[in-house]
């Protein structure tokens, strides 16, 4: 049923696109979003679908949701069905790197072919409005003083939020294995704990808490991006003397063992899409930050992220 519907929809969009003057390339793609409808990977996949078809870089694109286990269920299925395929893509991100390690997933990101890194959003460190901590320095001092009583709230255990909390704890001079991190199903539920004043500090994607930061219900102490971002008042952790950076990146992958020409064709299609005004418009509307990197740079990046995330998770005790 859903398959049929999404096909129909893709067909409608394809018709609409073929009317536009841009000559559509002949790519007919299928993108796997390894998460349920409504999540970050799902919206990234659907945004990519939209931009690729409208900018004429693909004739039709279908999105298929394969939810489960931080994306590792979708990844395992993809590694199997997309071997050598020239029409299959997978969306993934930093959370998947962590989930692979904590779940001992037999398939990891080196099994698939990185095509491009797309977006990279900053995480934000906040405290409730009536918290005694006015600055990041106040918070790190509190961490150093009593790490167990500094209670963090954020997204799922072992995810990007948790990793950042551990990295900050470590940088503040405390034992990262002692970090008192309360995991919620997502930034939304963690937000309620923040507003209710039940925890010391919280971490989430900046976009998710933007409304509360602007209204003054939450005080943003720092962002995890390496450089300041236009329109965000909070300064990077690095600029405030805490030597930590972490970007919530998302990218696309193709199947294992694909021929070089397929890799080149897919990379070109994505590269052209990323440059298109349609994609730039989506980035602006969703509040996503452009973090594009081509296939080879992305592959090297994944190797280093894998190592860094692995080290942190082992320090917290979530991975062996």
């Amino acid at each position: 049923m859903s398959f049929f519907k999404s096909r129909l929809l893709a067909a409608c969009i394809a018709v609409a696109a073929s009317v536009s003057p841009v000559v559509a390339q002949d790519l007919e793609l299928s993108i796997i979003a390894p998460a349920g409808a409504g999540g970050g990977w799902d919206s990234a996949a659907r945004a990519l679908q939209d931009a690729m078809v409208k900018s004429g870089n693909a004739r039709s694109v279908q999105v298929q949701n394969v939810p489960g286990a931080g994306g590792t269920v979708g990844l395992a299925q993809f590694a199997q069905q997309a071997r050598g395929a020239d029409d299959q893509l997978l969306v993934g991100g930093i959370t998947m790197v962590g989930a692979i390690l904590t779940n001992n997933s037999p398939v990891n990101l080196t099994s698939v072919t990185p095509i491009a890194r797309l977006t990279g959003d900053p995480l934000v460190v906040v405290v409730p409005k009536n918290s005694p901590h006015q600055t990041l320095a106040d918070l790190t001092a509190a961490i150093k003083g009593d790490v167990a009583n500094t209670i963090w709230a954020g997204g799922s255990a072992g995810g990007a939020d948790h990793i950042l909390a551990a990295l900050i704890t470590q940088a503040a001079g405390a034992d990262p294995s002692k970090v008192n991190y309360v995991a919620y199903s997502g930034g939304g539920e963690a937000l309620a704990a923040m507003l209710g004043g039940q925890v010391t500090a919280g971490i989430s994607g900046y976009g998710e808490w933007q409304g509360q930061i602007e209204s003054g219900d939450l005080r943003a102490l720092a962002i995890s991006y390496p450089e300041p971002i236009e329109g965000i008042a909070a300064q990077p952790l690095k600029a405030q003397g805490v030597d930590v950076e972490l970007v919530n990146w998302r990218g696309v992958f193709a199947g294992p063992d694909i021929p070089d020409e397929t890799k080149a064709a897919l990379s070109t299609a994505i590269a052209n899409t990323v440059k298109s005004p349609e994609w730039q418009e989506i980035l602006k509307a969703r509040g996503w930050t452009d973090y594009y990197a081509p296939a080879d740079d992305f592959a090297a990046f994944i190797t280093s992220e894998n190592e860094r995330v692995g080290t942190t998770l082992r320090a917290i005790g979530l991975a062996k």
């Binding site: 409504g38 904590t102 167990a148 008192n180 539920e189 602006k284």
Partner: protein, 499 residues
């Protein structure tokens, strides 16, 4: 009254013909996907997002709201007629609703569900319009300890209510709690009881369990009886419409359902299921016909149906005021807001007042449309029950399997569904209630995480549960509810001995 003026302006925008059209499309689509298995409102809205990008924000959000409400209406139809709850929130509806349908009273069951949904959604939408900013302040004060107290109340009432004896109810509940342990633990990210099967990492899907236990288990049970005593198709008894007595027995449960559903739905981690359980229990306790429960009591349909629709409206409170989606559909609607560069949250009512009030006004309109759409359909739906038994149950099996595969295409899911079907059959054969299993699966993991969060925040001190007045009161209520029946029995015996 500031809110009232805004609301009238909202109605002004919502009754524009083009917005009415969007609301109409939304409720039609929503009802359709609610009735069809496998494709829920969340997926529908996600599929429509790229299409509606061309439209103006008002129109498309109005359509999404129509889909959201429509899905809640549609979900009850299959639960009542086919004993196949399409979503967790209609599990309780199936209990009494399907009994009614099978004794020839499918019409009144569908009608009280539709009217109850209407009344509750109306009240809850009014609550959303006038109480949202205040309610949300209370809701975020709800800490993990308070949630744990609420879960305890739900556990105690549910295990005492369902089934022929508390022991049987508790046995079923324990099975559900065990199933709830399967999957990744939310607080540590480690897997439990998954035996390395990746499809189990996210735990057992509630709808797979519900459809397996209810629809498949029921079909197997009917088949096992059919060979010896063929059941005749059920004639529709009396009117398809509700009688005066039905009205008299329905209106209070509607109101109580709304009163239970809306505030719990507005809690950031409340959900639509708990209010349906609580409403069912309340109706059973308050009914003048408690003996009818389990045989098709109309209160048992009216209350939970009202509760689940009220909680649907309630869950828009955290969505609009905090930007906090508490259901999959709400999460997709949030993405819908964001694609127009609108961030739901504390500033939404200030920055986009016209849009919010048009949305709220169109919720009222969508609600009326749904009633107009659904009541005439009742006559059509009950015709389904004229289908001969073997055909009907074969159809249910196909429908249930198709829906499960459509939602999650995997062999493991199908095996689970069949396995639960067999379990459901055995439980029916030996008279164990199936509903507490589902309650355990839904509430077990929530109670688990909330208790451990509370302990994590108190650095392991269990007294935290009694230091907060909310949780202390709820725990005391739960303990009293558990002990009261025994105490009363003991007192009665004592008095007898004195005589």
């Amino acid at each position: 009254m500031d809110a009232l003026t805004h609301l009238f302006q909202g109605f002004g925008a919502a009754i524009l013909p083009v917005n009415l059209l969007f609301a109409g499309i939304g409720v039609l689509l929503g009802t359709a996907v609610g009735v069809l298995p496998g494709i829920g409102p969340a997926l529908t809205v996600a599929l429509l997002l790229p299409v509606t990008f061309q439209l103006d924000p008002g129109g498309s959000l109005i359509m999404f709201a129509g889909i959201y409400y429509g899905g809640m209406y549609g979900g009850s139809t299959t639960a009542i007629l086919l004993n196949t709850p399409g979503e967790a929130a209609s599990v309780v509806t199936a209990l009494e609703g399907n009994r009614m349908a099978r004794s020839g009273r499918g019409g009144p069951a569908l009608a009280t569900a539709a009217l109850g949904s209407f009344v509750a959604a109306l009240i809850a939408t009014a609550g959303l319009a006038f109480l949202a900013p205040w309610l949300v302040k209370v809701a975020v004060r709800f800490g993990p300890w308070d949630y744990f107290g609420l879960m305890l109340i739900a556990f105690v009432t549910v295990s005492a209510t369902f089934g022929s004896s508390p022991l049987r109810g508790l046995t079923s509940l324990a099975l559900g709690l065990w199933l709830g342990l399967i999957g990744i633990d939310q607080l540590t990210g480690q897997t439990r009881l998954t035996f390395g099967v990746p499809n189990l990492f996210d735990g057992i899907e509630v709808t797979t369990l519900a459809v397996g236990l209810f629809a498949i288990g029921e079909a197997l049970y009917v088949v096992s009886r059919h060979a010896f005593a063929p059941e005749k198709p059920i004639p529709i008894k009396g009117s398809v419409w509700m009688t005066r007595a039905d009205w008299g027995r329905s209106w209070k449960p509607w109101l109580r359902g709304a009163a239970i559903g809306f505030p719990i739905g507005a809690l950031p981690a409340g959900g639509a299921e708990i209010p349906t359980f609580l409403s069912y229990t309340a109706e059973r306790k308050l009914s003048r016909h408690p003996e009818e429960f389990g045989q098709g009591a109309i209160e048992g349909v009216a209350g939970p149906e009202a509760a689940n629709n009220a909680s649907a409206a309630g869950s828009l409170v955290p969505l609009l005021t905090l930007g906090l989606p508490t259901s999959a559909t709400a999460a997709v609607m949030l993405a819908g807001f964001q694609q127009y560069n609108i961030q739901p949250g504390p500033l939404l009512f200030v920055q986009h007042a016209d849009l919010v009030w048009a949305l709220i006004a169109s919720l009222f309109i969508a609600n009326v449309m749904l009633l107009v759409l659904n009541l005439p359909l009742v006559g059509l739906w009950v015709q389904l029950l004229r289908i001969p038994m073997p055909w009907l149950y074969a159809g249910i099996l196909v429908f249930a399997t198709m829906g499960t595969i459509a939602a999650n295409p995997s062999v493991v899911e199908l095996l689970l569904l069949s396995g639960f079907g067999v379990v459901g059959f055995i439980m029916r054969r030996y008279d164990y209630p199936v509903a507490p299993v589902i309650v355990g699966l839904i509430l077990g993991p929530m109670a688990d995480s909330q208790l451990r969060r509370a302990l994590q925040m108190s650095l392991g001190d269990p007294m935290v549960l009694f230091q907060h007045p909310g949780s202390a009161i709820m725990i005391v209520i739960a303990v009293l509810a558990l002990l009261a029946p025994f105490l009363f029995r003991g007192l009665a015996r004592l008095r007898k001995e004195e005589d």
